[in-house]
Symmetry: C2
Subunit: 260 residues, 2 copies
């Protein structure tokens, strides 16, 4: 929860959106008191806000058990947000083109606060992963994450590292902060990050940062993914890093133009 003292900040809107954002893939129904507990907003206010959202069609209430769910207006809003997000629309054609041209799987993400947001993913037809998260937290175990971390300012990096838990996801996952810092240093000098079966066994990824050329700030990352059985790391580094960095600079140009 934000705690803005800003005069030009509406706490009511913050609360309304906080309530709406409680509904997702894993939480399609919630009760009033549950919402009140989670958000810390008082019961009466939650009642007022939920009532408002129901009247507007963003939520709906089951008349028998009183459980609250997303309404049709949220569904429409969701699609508008998806299709109206200019960064996605800008990034998609470039990733599609590169994926088709070189027959590779590509993933991209944006940095927002301390986590990465999955922006667009294009998979080589034969590869299918299971349901991947929209918000990614395991930055230490991903090519995308390491590409971003390696190019942050040192203050911001230490800030993020403080709250980053180095969870062991595979035998090769980096779990010591010192090892991670060394990896990031190598990443920075190399110009691209390597995830060698650290997130998913049998999968190798290489990643490059995306940045806003004007502000020089890291905005996200792109990665290429390969099956380790088909592509040894040496082959990947020889044949694909050029493709990766070229795509990264194209994407950075787009981001720069949109964020201007």
């Amino acid at each position: 929860m934000h705690s803005e003292n800003d005069k030009y900040f509406s706490k009511t809107i913050e609360k309304g959106l906080l309530i709406l954002s409680l509904f997702d893939r894993d939480h399609s129904k919630r009760s009033l008191s549950e919402i009140s507990q989670i958000t810390g907003i008082n019961k009466t206010s939650v009642f007022r806000f939920v009532n408002t959202l129901i009247e507007l069609g963003y939520l709906r209430k089951n008349s028998s058990n009183r459980l609250i769910r997303l309404g049709p207006k949220s569904f429409v809003l969701g699609q508008n947000f998806f299709h109206g997000y200019d960064l996605l629309q800008g990034v998609k054609p470039i990733i599609d083109k590169t994926s088709i041209q070189h027959n590779v799987s590509i993933d991209s993400a944006l940095l927002f606060g301390r986590s990465l947001i999955s922006l667009y993913r294009r998979e080589h037809p034969s590869l299918i992963y299971s349901r991947l998260p929209i918000l990614m937290d395991d930055l230490h175990a991903r090519a995308l994450g390491k590409a971003v971390l390696a190019n942050l300012e040192s203050e911001e990096l230490t800030e993020i590292l403080k709250s980053l838990r180095l969870t062991k996801l595979t035998p090769k996952t980096i779990t010591k902060k010192k090892d991670l810092l060394n990896d990031l240093k190598a990443t920075r000098s190399r110009g691209y990050s390597v995830n060698n079966e650290e997130y998913f066994p049998g999968m190798i990824f290489i990643g490059a940062p995306l940045s806003n050329y004007n502000t020089k700030v890291v905005a996200g990352a792109v990665s290429l993914g390969f099956r380790a059985a088909e592509f040894p790391l040496s082959i990947i580094e020889r044949n694909y890093t050029g493709i990766l960095t070229k795509m990264a600079s194209e994407l950075s140009a787009i981001i720069t133009s949109l964020d201007a």
Copy 2:
């Protein structure tokens, strides 16, 4: 704009969502004064609300030209709304199954207010339409629309017909209210609606209503689509109406269980 006298209704939340909903596929950037004009909300309030939405990450502002765009939080919210919308998740497997089993294109929509919301569409691989709308207004020219209209209460029907413009989309589009009423009567007795090249030349659709079995209220519709060149209407009516109505009842059961 709602004008609720309701005591338990937050106008601030209404305004915040009104502002957010101005951003979609066709409007990825807007200025402050533009937002103020469109919404009728006073400039200072728009400034406060937009500022709030920017601080929360739902919008972002270009620092040079001050234009406002969707932010990463909206993108995340959009995906959560899409994947968290239980009606979609409930309807999808049934439509997928039917589409694969009978090799047909299927479209579905929900009634919300006076318009239909496109819920889920599954196309037979060889058919591709251009960008279809999320909100559908031409109810008179669509199988989905006519299936819904034919099963409304007469009061609600006249209410909707009042604001429905019978736009001519193809030579076969129904443009006279009397003809439409006759078609709806036929639709009701038949149990399914027919769109014979009235929306798109060369395409025939048949549609059936979806309803909540408890409340007996029409909730939406499903339709099957065919190329007129391949499937004459007589063949469609002989072979596919059973499939359509069976699917419609399965979907209605889902809707009933979720809306309880």
